[in-house]
Amino acid sequence: MKKFLILALMTGAVMAEEVPIVGNVQSKCIINTDKAGVYGNPTADKLSTAPADGGVLPIVRYDVSLAGAYTAKVTTPTSFSASPSLNDTVTWTGSTEVHEVSDAAMSDYEANKVTYDATTEYDLHTAGTTWFKMSSTAEYGYGKSFPGGTYRAVVVAECIAN
């Protein structure tokens, strides 16, 4: 009986195999779309992502694993990517703000942001996660009603290596 047990244990030892799991950690930037935005239509001439206007603010999350290696650029819409035929001008306003940060050292991101046209740039000087929220408003003509239909506009979130 004892011999049988020793033999069984030896057989088990021979059958065991090593299964290596290899991982490679390298610096990177990941852009996550945490929340897709929705335009609300509070008045006939206005589309807005503001919660007070019945919209939803889009939220984008940047995960950066190397400090000082990337710049974040977020551009709010300046035109519709899809809409019914429009015969008057659309006035666009938009802004980008830091929504949340994972590290206290990122607290100066909002103060040091650079804004031009519809684009806002942030120097991601600390490794970790930053959430940005964007607001966008489109107003049609001078108090004209938007024609009925589906309207879509696109936010561009970029992560550019320094």
Partner: protein, 125 residues
């Protein structure tokens, strides 16, 4: 009540996984099998359910396009797929190539109606 909380937790977790990733941050050109042509290898991971195609571009310091060759300039990447790809640039252009970028291609006729386009640029150093 407990089941409801678990279901809610799962729905919140599943709503928060939409990501675009490209590595390395600083790729390097190396010699290719063709004389006078350099290549760089990059990798991408698509964790965006709402995006299936990504476009590759190479740019100089002023964001002007630089000629390059790769197997596909617009790559199909199903959800949760990893892709490794090479870009080939002439020796002369390799001196001015500064950025290589991947940008998500949003489809107007997609059922998911994505509203955020993502672009990640690595920089040659």
């Amino acid at each position: 009540m407990q089941t409801l909380l678990i279901l809610l937790a799962f729905s919140l977790l599943s709503a928060a996984v939409e990501a675009h990733e490209m590595t390395p941050t600083h790729p390097k050109f190396e010699v290719s099998h063709v004389e006078g042509v350099y290549k760089a290898r990059l990798a991408m991971f698509n964790k965006r359910k709402d995006v299936e195609y990504y476009e590759i571009g190479v740019f100089d310091e002023k964001w002007e396009p630089v000629p390059f060759v790769s197997a596909y300039k617009v790559m199909r990447m199903p959800y949760l797929s990893h892709v490794q790809f090479d870009i080939y640039v002439s020796a002369m252009d390799s001196t001015i190539a500064e950025y290589v970028c991947s940008v998500s291609k949003l489809r107007e006729n997609s059922d998911k109606k994505p509203l955020v386009a993502t672009r990640i640029c690595s920089r040659f150093k």
